[in-house]
């Protein structure tokens, strides 16, 4: 169990897919314009990551290594399509926001990267922890980035068309935050913050 927790926590901090491994950034920058969309994207990624990690790990001994990549991709693509269809059927407003980025989870390097680097070599138990940790770590950074962009860029946070948090009237945010350059700048600041936090906790442990 201690090993499980260690693997899970690594995804959140020292091996965070976005701020440390820096994979899967393209979709991150694109969907982080709205907190609502970012949350659903996070849920979709967690689901796909946990399911594909678990399944690939369970069958790792029977998947021949020569064809492992095609097999991984088929498994990942199936789970992504399931998410895609369910979102289209039951959450159309969310699907309208995320659109193409849901099917593109298939080629998100976080999923394939974890399948190859972790699930193919580790037990089912630990692979699930890795999927969950990576997915949650991804989602936290994504939602924080989306919050900063939406709140300061557009001056309000909206859920299903309802503003739940508003800047005082007359606030005109820097619209650059809603565009890619602003996303890059904010993301850089988040990386710096994460590094600082990780470094501080590791020096504390040493001391």
């Amino acid at each position: 169990m201690r090993e499980w927790i260690r693997v899970f926590k690594a995804g959140l901090s020292v091996e965070n897919p976005l701020t440390i491994l820096m994979i899967g950034l393209c979709a991150t920058l694109a969907v982080s314009t709205q907190v609502q969309g970012a949350m659903f994207m996070g849920v979709a990624v967690i689901f796909v990551l946990v399911m594909s990690n678990t399944l690939i790990s369970a069958f790792r001994k029977v998947i021949p290594s020569e064809v492992r990549i095609p097999v991984f991709i088929v498994i990942i693509a199936s789970f992504v399509t399931i998410v895609d269809l369910f979102m289209k059927a039951f959450f159309p407003p969310i699907y309208a926001v995320l659109g193409i980025w849901i099917p593109l989870i298939v080629v998100n390097c976080i999923i394939l990267g974890r399948a190859e680097a972790f699930a193919y070599h580790n037990s089912v138990w630990l692979s699930t922890a890795d999927g969950l940790g990576m997915g949650v770590g991804y989602s936290i950074v994504l939602v924080v980035l989306a919050f900063l962009r939406e709140f300061f860029g557009s001056g309000r946070i909206e859920f299903f068309g309802q503003a739940i948090l508003k800047m005082p009237a007359g606030y005109a945010g820097p619209t650059i935050l809603m565009m890619f350059p602003g996303a890059f700048i904010l993301f850089g600041l988040i990386i710096a913050l994460m590094r600082w936090l990780n470094e501080r906790s590791s020096t504390r442990k040493a001391a």
Partner: protein, 195 residues
Amino acid sequence: MKSSPLRLILSVLVVCVVAAAGLAATYAVTAPEIAAQEKAAEADALRGVLPDAATFEPVDDAVLIAAQELAGDSKVDAIFRALDTSGKQIGWGVKVGSRGYGGYINLVLGLDRDGKVSGATILTMNETPGLGTRIQTEPSFLEQYLGLPAGFTEKDVKALDMISGATKSSRGVRNSVVVTSIVFDQVLKDAGEVR
């Protein structure tokens, strides 16, 4: 460890068959739901732009094709006749799309029998959130089209305000309205649609 070719083929085949079966099952569950959602969204939009109408029926294919030929860079996806409870025609609902900043902005426009815009709703769009999406979040933008006189022309549409900072998105909406006016003028008016 090297695997035999047969084993490679079999393992990929098995994975694909299982995956396909899983997806087929998911699709069977979600497909009716997805179709219903799309229909509901369309019906909602039509009712929104023509509040007095009771039913909507699609126009003949020939009329739609004639309209599509006039559309140019825009596209006309569907035209509906709007009927009130007594079956009298009170106007048209037009599904029309033009390119904005991020692909097509799809609108539903309602026209009354004189060709006056009775309502405009954005169905789907991919504009930059917070910038291009202001064509939707600032209601005054779409509302100004309701003030156009009957038989309005491109010149009338171009005299209306655009949203600064969202020029391309505004232009996408504007082009759709212009196309709708042309379609009304050249197709719907002459097609014997008015009963």
